[in-house]
Symmetry: C2
């Protein structure tokens, strides 16, 4: 049953995980989506060790997921803040799908700490599978993988 393109080096899932699958990296991205852009704030909100955080940010910048923007607080040295690129913004469904599953299956008895709502109407937001013709898919059973 081995098919070469399912080996980790060719698989899109494995490649994505190789770049952003690490736990601190995903929490850095969570902060970026919350609009938290500065090193010390990211560190405080994630609890990531300083050197780990620095390394993770560098990898994300190197791969074009985040970009550095200079800023300066009066009387302090110039620093950088970190902003999502388009490539980074496109990771949002990954974070939401991880979050929603955790909300459903791993939350404490008093429920998940954060709910995502549609800014336009206030209804709760979830990830769904949808085809280019506009059909919503209820489960993996409605998906047919086509291999090249």
């Amino acid at each position: 049953m081995t098919q070469p393109h399912y080996l980790p080096e060719d698989c899109s899932i494995a490649r994505t995980l190789g770049l952003v699958g690490e736990r601190w990296t995903m929490l850095v991205l969570r902060e970026a989506f919350r609009g938290v852009r500065r090193f010390d704030d990211i560190r405080a909100n994630t609890g990531a060790p300083r050197q780990v955080l620095s390394a993770r940010l560098s990898v994300l910048v190197e791969h074009g997921v985040l970009r550095r923007e200079p800023y300066q607080v009066l009387g302090q040295r110039a620093r950088h803040e970190y902003r999502l690129t388009r490539k980074g913004m496109d990771l949002y469904p990954v974070l939401v799908s991880l979050m929603r599953w955790g909300d459903r299956y791993l939350a404490d008895s008093d429920g998940p700490p954060v709910e995502l709502t549609h800014a336009g109407c206030g209804a709760p937001v979830d990830v769904t599978l949808r085809c280019a013709d506009g059909h919503l898919l209820d489960s993996a059973r409605e998906v047919r993988p086509v291999e090249r």
Copy 2:
């Protein structure tokens, strides 16, 4: 800016990653969604070392993401195969979102190895954000997180 429920131990994203974020685990789940249920087949398709795979499967069973079902090939000892539970099935959007991002940004020049299509109509499948009132959301900017 520190809010206690954003620390990794309370965050639904971090909790989900803690259970399924490891690379081999996610590849095991990929195989499960492809209908690959037997240890040796999963091993061949992922390239996971035997002991690693065995440990990852045990964790997934322990947490109710997979369940063991006995089977026996004539003349061989009884074995187990691994099937997705409902809890496991609900991880599908996580895998698809990881895959689609990798397809878009990390694929080789000849394109991604697998395309997901809607079994009903053949159109390509993607993950989208949608609210309970049926609105499709184009980006994270349309989402308002509400903290408890």
